[in-house]
Amino acid sequence: MPFDSIESLTKKYVVAVQDYAILAGRAIANIFQRPHYFGDLITQADSIGIGSLPIVILTGFFTGGVLALQSASSLAQFGATAITGELVSLSMIKELGPVLTSLMVSGRNASGMASELGSMMVTEQIDAMRALGTDPLKKLVTPRLYATVVMLFFLTIISDTVGTLGGAFVSVVMLGQNGSQYFHTAYQTLRYPDIIQGLVKPVVFGFIIASIGCFYGMTTRGGTQGVGRSTTQAVVVSSVLIIFVDFLISQFMINVFGF
């Protein structure tokens, strides 16, 4: 297999970034242009939101639980098990809730979008849609983008809640801590900047998941093998981007709010 020269490889990546930016920009702008596909938006919201609910609840619950388990054993060395709730709620709401929910949704939906749109690409269904006078970006990409952003926001809130409850379950039932104290410290430690940080992240992550999933789907080439490649790339790229952007947002928020 011949190797690409550095020049052609660089050109390929720059063109890919440019194509991604155009697709994402047009998908956002389409919300202001007719026709609107509200039916598709609801269908996608149901598929992404309701469909992801079981994995988000399970992930949130066990993440909160394991956080309580690990932190309680460390805190016990300093006689500070009373702040287990504080640690669990802060970790869940600022970091683990948004990031883990996004990673789970990415694994489920970025791959789904890439494979579905990729299959439509290689079987000429996207061309057929264009030939029938429909803009595939408006019909396929925009509903997925907005549905993911909105549903990931609410899924993260659910994950935060269930995670905190999971921590409570472990703290109270398994570690014998005081439930009232757990919820009191979990609630008292939260400030508005923590909540804002925890709710800004899923909006950005939702955008990353849908735009990357749709981009790889819409640029699929090369039959079923190409669909598999697009699906893998969509999950890998969106997951890495989520973790990288999480770092940037956290850094930005700390600079803005001071903690």
Partner: protein
């Protein structure tokens, strides 16, 4: 009696002397490989142009260029007197309302029923439900598949899928139909059924069309047969006659090596054509 899918669109106002499709010096390449080079061709109103050529000669690319699904690297493409090679996608969506396209494998939306596939364009145009149902039923009756309304494409045979694709392409009575290998991969009997439908569309509605195929028997069947409306099937043109509105283009290595009538094609002295037709 043949029933026609009806349209609410007024009759075409185009100048009948102007070609429906006009390619002038069109070239396109992918990843450094030239696929079509300096292609010039016309499709006149009511004409059926059959595009022949070996696999990989750029026939499907040419068809996609004619529908604005691809942009040429150079040259101009005019469809219904409008330049489509420079036309923005939004305007192309409007123009495509006058063009029907049958894709190589049908390209039916696999998540939609046959009814919704055929009705897709009409539903996008927000046509009332009763009217959509009437026109879909008529289009499916044209391809003799009205019993498949509620089936999904995966429940149909390959030939039935192509017939549904034809119904989807003609549901709003387009002024131009582009067929991309409508019989590719089908058995001879099913191929004949599809060719009969193409002929029916040509002879009953006189729709201009550009048909890509690499099956010579299909191409010559179109040139030597006509659709008999009384008998509701195709019959040979008497005395070995040829359909005057059916002409040929032959592509080879990205170039047009023949452009002319059936008679000229079969009597050509070109070595490639002789070998290709033999």
């Amino acid at each position: 009696m043949v029933t026609a899918p009806q349209t609410t669109r007024p009759a075409t106002q185009d100048d009948p002397s102007q070609p429906v499709v006009l390619f002038d010096g069109v070239s396109i390449g992918f990843e450094g490989k030239q696929v079509l080079e300096n292609i010039s061709l016309t499709v006149s109103p009511g004409e059926t142009r059959i595009l022949l050529g070996p696999a990989g000669s750029g026939k499907s690319v040419l068809l996609k260029l004619a529908n604005g699904l691809m942009k040429p690297d150079s040259g101009t493409i005019t469809v219904f007197d409008e330049r489509i090679d420079t036309m923005p996608e939004e305007q192309l969506f409007q123009l495509r309302g006058r063009i029907g396209m049958v894709f190589q494998e049908g390209a039916l939306f696999d998540s939609l029923t046959v009814r919704d596939n055929v009705a897709y364009r009409l539903m996008e145009q927000k046509i009332p439900e009763a009217e959509v149902t009437r026109r879909v039923t008529e289009a499916l009756r044209f391809v003799e598949l009205e019993q498949t309304l509620d089936k999904f494409p995966s429940q149909l045979s390959g030939g039935m899928r192509r017939r549904v694709a034809i119904a989807r392409a003609i549901v709003n009575r387009p002024d131009l139909i582009l067929y991309d290998s409508p019989t590719g991969g089908l058995d001879p009997i099913t191929s004949t059924t599809i060719i009969e439908l193409v002929m029916k569309q040509r002879d009953v509605y006189r729709t201009s069309s550009l048909l890509v195929t690499h099956r010579l028997q299909d191409a010559f069947m179109l040139a030597t047969h006509t659709f008999d409306r009384e008998k509701n099937h195709m019959v040979p043109i008497p005395d070995g006659g040829l359909d005057s509105k059916t002409n040929f283009l032959v592509l080879h290595d990205g170039h047009i090596v023949f452009d002319g009538s059936t008679h000229d094609l079969v009597h050509s002295d070109d070595p490639f054509l002789k070998e290709y037709l033999s």
